[in-house]
């Protein structure tokens, strides 16, 4: 897999997410031990780390599903931990969250899944405009033909795509991908990686991609950070992160057979 060319449209002067000193513990287990992180406008940032290191916890805190114990999480100029429910909802409309298992509403068809956020948050749209938008995002993820199917009739890769389409329908500024290639075959992984890059280009989003798949990290990341022992230990391009004598970094690399 070719390394990704860094997106020239990244604005290094504009931070869309800024995290400082974030700590989070579950009972006595401290998952995040003072994390600092910036996401720049237009950037795809990959967060690498082994399972259980708190990668998913990090993006759940960013989207307000969990709260940090200490530190600040600033998203699009708003301090997430201090927002009132309505303010948090307003912020969430600008964030798209693609879940590890897609989290499609399994009692609804693909069309109803995509309509669900629109009916609630785009009330000004006519039925025709809604239909047009649904077709547009489905076409963007290459699954226009699946519009009337139930989630149970879709493959893992298709479910991931529809999950991404559902988050794109409200035109978010930030995308959070939780393990986008987990459980998929290598060819579908490449398709999902291409889709993540396509979303960045076409919808001009800034993204955090949580993964332990190095092929994915190399294919989609403009910048890569590595979470080790509750803190970001390495940061840079894919090559810079793994140009290290740190045993933990090397063993992580060696277990992912790339190239």
């Amino acid at each position: 897999m070719e390394a990704k060319e860094i997106n020239p449209n990244i604005d290094r002067n504009e931070k869309v997410i800024s995290i400082r000193g974030l700590k989070k513990a579950f009972d006595d287990f401290e998952v995040l031990k003072g994390v600092d992180l910036d996401l720049f406008k237009g950037e795809n940032l990959v967060v690498l780390g082994r399972s259980g290191t708190g990668k998913s916890v990090l993006i759940k805190i960013i989207s307000g599903l969990l709260y940090g114990d200490e530190g600040s999480v600033n998203v699009l100029g708003k301090e997430v931990g201090t927002l009132k429910p309505r303010e948090l909802d307003a912020l969430r409309l600008k964030i798209g969250f693609s879940f590890q298992n897609s989290a499609l509403y399994d009692s609804m068809t693909v069309r109803e899944n995509l309509e669900f956020p629109l009916v609630r948050h785009a009330k000004h749209m006519s039925e025709g405009e809604r239909e047009e938008l649904i077709h547009y995002v489905l076409e963007a993820v290459g699954l226009a033909q699946a519009i009337n199917q139930m989630p149970s009739e879709l493959s893992g890769g298709q479910r991931k795509r529809i999950g991404i389409a559902r988050t794109l329908i409200l035109k978010p500024e930030i995308m959070l991908y939780d393990e986008p290639t987990a459980g998929l075959d290598p060819i579908t992984c490449i398709e999902i990686n291409n889709l993540i890059n396509e979303v960045q280009r076409r919808f001009n989003t800034s993204s955090i991609i949580i993964t332990h798949d190095l092929t994915c990290a190399r294919a989609v990341g403009d910048r890569v950070v590595m979470l080790l022992d509750g803190q970001f230990q390495r940061e840079g391009t894919f090559e810079e992160v793994f140009d290290s004598h740190d045993e933990r970094v090397q063993s992580f690399y060696n277990y992912n057979f790339i190239d």
Partner: protein, 272 residues
């Protein structure tokens, strides 16, 4: 004096620790139940109102329960009449059968049987559905798309259950009375008009009000327990099974307790 009894790690200290943890859990659970109920009563008044989902759930709870309720109610009517006849026949009072059936079915059997069947069918379905949505992150997905999952999932189901269980109770009562009528008609050759005249003659307005109030409370209980168990389920697929199971068991337990309490209140009102 046993000097070891308060040492950390000693058997009495461990027992005290376990007891304290259990008590902690009970109080935390009670606080969570209170918060869940309070949130329901707070959120049901404010927009957005999920009318479409409420109607869908009314259909799921009400219409889809009809075949089971019809069969059960009808058979209970026949069996109850058949089993009551010999006792009345001993005193030559089989003409009182319609009155007996009426009082028993309208006051107790109708609401109770409907609630127990609904607890099994509806309570478990709600618990399993919400539990599965919780463990597959569908509830989180609603939340991050700025939709209130509590309002969409919980308020709609509890309202639908509270509305539909009384309707089902009325239907079960009618079907049971019809079952009873068929049995009475076959043995005593009573006409439908005479049967229902005697049925309504035996009951009071208070019986109907009490039955309706009871079924509203049962409906609320079934919906609320199913939603609470499902919404707060965890531990993957095992949690889904537990949520479905404990929805049924808890709802049935509460229904019997409520039946007992309401009966006492109604008897007190009747005596007054």
């Amino acid at each position: 004096m046993d000097l070891d009894k308060d040492k950390p790690g000693s058997a009495p200290a461990r027992r005290r620790y376990v007891t304290t943890r259990r008590l902690d859990r009970i109080f935390v659970e009670l606080a969570n139940i209170y918060r869940f109920n309070a949130r329901f009563f707070k959120e049901m008044w404010f927009p957005p109102y999920e009318f479409k989902e409420i109607i869908k759930q009314c259909y799921e709870i009400g219409v889809r329960s009809l075949p089971l309720i019809s069969l059960t109610g009808f058979i209970i009517g026949i069996v109850f009449t058949n089993q009551s006849r010999p006792s009345l026949a001993d005193f030559g009072a089989t003409s009182l059968l319609p009155a007996l059936i009426s009082v028993a079915i309208i006051r107790a059997i109708g609401p109770l049987v409907t609630a127990l069947i609904a607890a099994g069918r509806v309570g478990s379905a709600i618990g399993a559905e919400l539990g599965s949505m919780r463990v597959t992150e569908q509830i989180d997905a609603m939340e991050v798309s700025a939709t209130n999952p509590f309002k969409f999932l919980v308020v709609s189901r509890v309202l639908a259950s509270t509305l539909m269980i009384p309707a089902l109770t009325m239907y079960t009562t009618l079907v049971s009375l019809l079952g009873g009528y068929l049995n009475v008609h076959q043995n005593e050759l009573t006409t439908l008009t005479t049967f229902f005249y005697q049925v309504f003659d035996a009951i009071t307005f208070l019986d109907i009000v009490a039955s309706s109030v009871k079924s509203v409370i049962f409906g609320f209980t079934i919906g609320m327990v199913g939603c609470y168990k499902g919404y707060n389920s965890s531990k993957g697929t095992e949690g889904v099974g537990k949520a479905a199971n404990s929805s049924v068991v808890t709802a049935m337990f509460l229904i019997f307790i409520e039946e007992l309490l309401i009966m006492q209140v109604i008897n007190a009102i009747r005596a007054f």
